[in-house]
Symmetry: C2
Subunit: 418 residues, 2 copies
């Protein structure tokens, strides 16, 4: 199967992008193809990569806002989560995938429950996904040993799908919900099996204080001590870090997933220390977090929030310029997740998004990178190709109506049980 995108704007020039199978074959193709897409009036950008979310939480969108983090979690989110069933996860993930595709995301890194359902939903929707079970032992290593079996089962189950698009990973939740013994167990298994580890790191100041109280040192120092810092670690949030911790994260090549919208909405107290991270050479990618704390999955919106929150927080409008913010959501996301995408170049995976240049926000069009960062949102995405397959064209995604209806039913069912 081949696709030819004719006469599309790519890095300021008109190109013919040719896709063969699931890879980009050429960007100056003169050959025909099985499917030809007219790229006139469109720009091609790499598919956006969301490095931290909980897709099925789309069912919680708008259910609990404007609350203190602890209230929000204990009085609203946890009661719903206790009633989650596989079918909720399946339809919640389909709704999330629909929203992601419609806003140009071609790959997401997810940690949640009943992840076989997430895998099935993502496989059917055609999107790329890195999936881990949210692993929690409530600081009891014995519970950890038992529960870890289901994380391993998920890895095996995803591997048995034999679909390169759906990648298994491990998801130890956080330092305050997983015992050090279990963190070590996860880390060792990840190294042996060559798996990514998806983790929440230093989202709040309380989390840091609790760690200092319990272990006598800050989270990153403690995690280094137990051997948890590795190049395969994707650390979501990473807000409350000092310079020493940033240095350690770099030393072990840990990847950061920054979630500016969630951080602002839950008021975690500050913005990530981006300038220090950049100076240290840390890889910073972007995530939306789940819909309960965002409440959207629009990565183009997230790019704008990332850039503007840094400027506002530091008082320096030159920090995190447009090109760096866009790179976070493309190249850096791909590197964080070890996906051979994030750029449109021959040999790369064919994860391509076409932007409709007729949107007024893209005019007069002095600078496309600036417009992507500051002027548009996901609605300017016209076409999405993932792994060489067209998932959306003219903003139409297959099965949309059924997904909306079934996700609504799932949410009603869930809320009705609380």
């Amino acid at each position: 199967m081949s696709i030819l995108i004719e006469d599309v704007l790519l890095d300021g020039e008109r190109k013919n992008i040719r896709v063969e199978g699931n890879r980009i074959a050429s960007i100056d193709s003169k050959e025909g193809a099985d499917t030809v897409i007219d790229g006139k009036g469109k720009a091609a950008i790499p598919g956006l990569i969301n490095t931290h979310t909980h897709a099925a939480m789309s069912l919680f969108r708008g259910y609990a806002d404007d609350m203190l983090l602890q209230d929000w979690l204990s009085s609203r989110i946890l009661p719903l989560e206790r009633n989650l069933k596989p079918e909720h996860i399946y339809w919640g993930t389909k709704l999330a995938c629909l929203e992601m595709i419609k806003s140009g995301t071609t790959c997401f890194n997810d940690m949640y429950f009943f992840m076989e359902e997430t895998a099935k939903a993502a496989e059917e929707m055609g999107i790329r996904a890195v999936l881990s079970e949210g692993f929690v032992d409530l600081l009891n290593p014995d519970v950890g040993k038992e529960r870890f079996q289901s994380s391993i089962s998920l890895v095996e189950s995803i591997r048995s799908m034999k679909n390169d698009r759906i990648v298994p990973a491990l998801g130890p939740h956080a330092i305050y919900t997983v015992s050090p013994e279990s963190l070590q167990m996860v880390s060792e298994y990840a190294e042996k099996e060559n798996l990514l580890v998806h983790f929440h790191l230093s989202e709040t100041e309380d989390e840091v204080s609790a760690c200092v109280e319990l272990h006598g040192k800050r989270p990153v120092l403690f995690l280094e001590e137990i051997g948890f810092l590795n190049p395969n670690l994707v650390a979501a949030h990473s807000v409350w870090l000092n310079k020493e911790e940033i240095g350690l994260l770099k030393k072990h090549d840990v990847k950061i997933s920054h979630n500016p919208v969630s951080n602002m909405k839950l008021a975690v107290g500050k913005a990530i220390p981006y300038t220090e991270m950049k100076e240290a050479g840390l890889l910073v990618s972007l995530g939306t977090d789940g819909c309960a704390s965002n409440n959207a999955l629009d990565m183009l919106e997230t790019i704008k929030f990332a850039a503007l929150y840094q400027k506002a927080y530091t008082g320096d409008p030159t920090v995190l310029p447009a090109n760096e913010a866009v790179a976070m959501a493309t190249e850096n996301g791909a590197r964080a997740l070890g996906i051979d995408a994030g750029k449109i170049a021959p040999g790369k995976l064919a994860d391509i998004v076409l932007i409709d240049l007729t949107a007024p926000q893209l005019h007069p069009g002095h600078n496309l990178v600036s417009d992507l960062a500051y002027a548009v949102n996901g609605s300017c995405v016209d076409t999405v190709i993932c792994d060489g397959r067209i998932l959306m064209q003219d903003r139409k995604v297959e099965g949309e109506d059924e997904i909306l209806e079934r996700a609504n039913e799932a949410a009603l069912d869930l809320v009705g049980k609380v």
Copy 2:
């Protein structure tokens, strides 16, 4: 002329909204109408009101980002502005109106140059506008007297249009660009002629320090002293205020226009003191500012930024909840500009926006107000009615292609001359 919007979601119930002429006649109509709109799958909300922008700066979108405010202004914006001609303003405003209509804005408060062109463009686009010339005397009252004639001419010229939708106002730029004598002159004329006064207040800390140095007191105290504080004053930004100043603004019933996106992008150093303003009973509305410092005119995006920036800045996720943020962009905007709109109720001006509920971000739909504040952006707007006239239906606006083309040409012409 009458319009009937059948079976549309309004405040949680299915309603039939009937428009007669330029007013809402009924919300439970059983009569027919000249034009019937099927409201199924849609929700009706008041048209959004943007209380601070410089519409024609849409031509500058993406031309200068990520710069220090002073650099940005002196090396990029002012050189362009020196070359502005009436036709640039006309097409820049048309582009801005197109973007505003497509994102649900039905009324904007604008201050800029060649405002007869803005008036003409807004009149043709069918949108409601409050228009003032940006008045600057560089602290020389003699220059002020001379230049003020063109502000008066604009008022007369707009009045001669005899279009209630286009409202003249006065636009003294700021305390650092207009002499106290001229501010007094503007204020007296505004009172006599019953005009709104559109003003930039305390956007940056430097502005406050300079005022203290020059006049021995903070801006709001000085403005009260010279009699500039009045109920007809719309004070854009209003970031750097202390408690005493907030009290004085309330005492004189001054209206605030908060511009969170611009404040964050230009890194003005802090968020507005919203809680103190709310406690004092100040009216706070929302603006986008111009496209050179935002770079979009999407009020639904601005609502999200307003709510999240307050939470992030104060560290309190309960501050500025969804309903207050949405009210800022609707009711409060209408009250700030003295427009009898901002609510959907019999007798109000027929400025109505229909939201397409099939967008995935509006599912599962636990809470429409939350979804409007946090989940959607302007792209979920399907239909826009302003002053009883349909400006957009099915996201189509008349003359769209020509506007994009001519605005691009205008921008190229402008940049080419620098």
